[in-house]
Amino acid sequence: MKLDLSGLEPATLHQLSNDNLCDVFSPTPSFEIPNDADFDGFQKAAVQMVKPAKGTTTLAFIFKEGIMVAADSRASMGGYISSQSVKKIIEINPYLLGTMAGGAADCQFWHRNLGIKCRLHELANKRRISVTGASKLLANILYSYRGMGLSVGTMIAGWDETGPGLYYVDSEGGRLKGTRFSVGSGSPYAYGVLDSGYRWDMPVEEAAELARRSIYHATFRDGASGGVASVYYVGPQGWKKLSGDDVAELHFNYYPVTENVVEQEMVEVTA
């Protein structure tokens, strides 16, 4: 049977007559290619323009009592703040957390997908998946989409049989095991505060305050971070949300406004 390949022909406007005079009315539709000597460079620049720049601050660190995970809650589109109340710490399951940096849709979808895979692993193997395994599943998926425009910079934090586990996974396919990470445009500021205040044997409250302060300082200096600083703790029983404070309120908590002392008041002098 001869296949009908007419759909693959280049689209042409219907020609009423084969007059040479009508040639001008039936050009094949096409788009213009930019007049650029360096077309590949132009393509790269176009991709860069579309690629979101991971405007956010997230951090996570392991300490003696477990793992502390914290993030801001601002979503920005260029200079426009599209939301101050984004949930950037994603609850994959009761003992695994993921953080969101980069494309919100990408992070939310793939974390949800990871949650499904973790549950299937549990059902098939009658035991929870390890943090190593979960992060590797996500990293393999992201690697297979490499170069297709996914933007994900996430940390997978959890508690499994071997204790606390923290991995950084990104859309370039990278995966790193570590004890302290911060991801996003505000991460340099967060690292400054986090690295200088970090001690292995902090109690939980001190670690939470360190995480909160690091996020606050990042939101103070980075325009793409702000909103609410959420802090989660991951322990042997799973994760627990510790606090969610508006960073503006935190600012006035840390740096209260002092009343200026007035030495002399100007008084009207009667003539």
Partner: protein, 249 residues
Amino acid sequence: MARYDRAITVFSPDGHLFQVEYALEAVRKGNAAVGVRGTDNIVLAVERKSTAKLEDSRTVRKIVNLDNHIALACAGLKADARVLINKARIECQSHRLTVEDPVTVEYITRYIAGLQQKYTQSGGVRPFGLSTLIVGFDPYTGAPSLYQTDPSGTFSAWKANATGRNSNSIRDFLEKNYKETAGHETIKLAARALLEVVESKGNNIEIAVMTRDKGLRQLEESDVEAIVAEVEAEKAAAEAAKKAPTPRD
């Protein structure tokens, strides 16, 4: 279009899959294999049909490694075994690569059984003609396990089991005489079970022991002979004790 309707496994009117049952027949004709689980080790003992004089017996290994902590023995078509073992070995490594953890014994057994089942429900292929005994230690809990799969694709865990020739007699013996053992006692129990159906002379038995720390250890022929001699001596002593007149006070 390629026609795949030759040799598919189809149901008979009374609900049997004859190809699978014929595969089980092939297993019943294969060499006997016994597996016994101890508290700190698992022993596999396999009947070895006497090798020809010119044959290098070291190349005819019946008990193989699937990974550092998992071993397999089988009864049935040895060529089918080779294919299944290769696929299982690849899956063990692939699992290590994707989740950075070694497989559990249950996982790889489920994989092998799944493969065997797939071949009972595909066009143009016949089922694998072998039953396997899979042993190993759980990499997390350290618990020893023994699993068996068969050509239909079912699998289950056992304390001790046998497959291949005369497996029913061996299993009867094990049911009567199994108890929790460890170390050397487990090896002797496995050897005794196999010797129920296999002649003890002439290098007929291959024994391998899986331990948590050292992995799979194939016993040398001299060690096997020593164990067989020990078992035979114990059997003789038991026989003599039975025959001896009971002392009266």
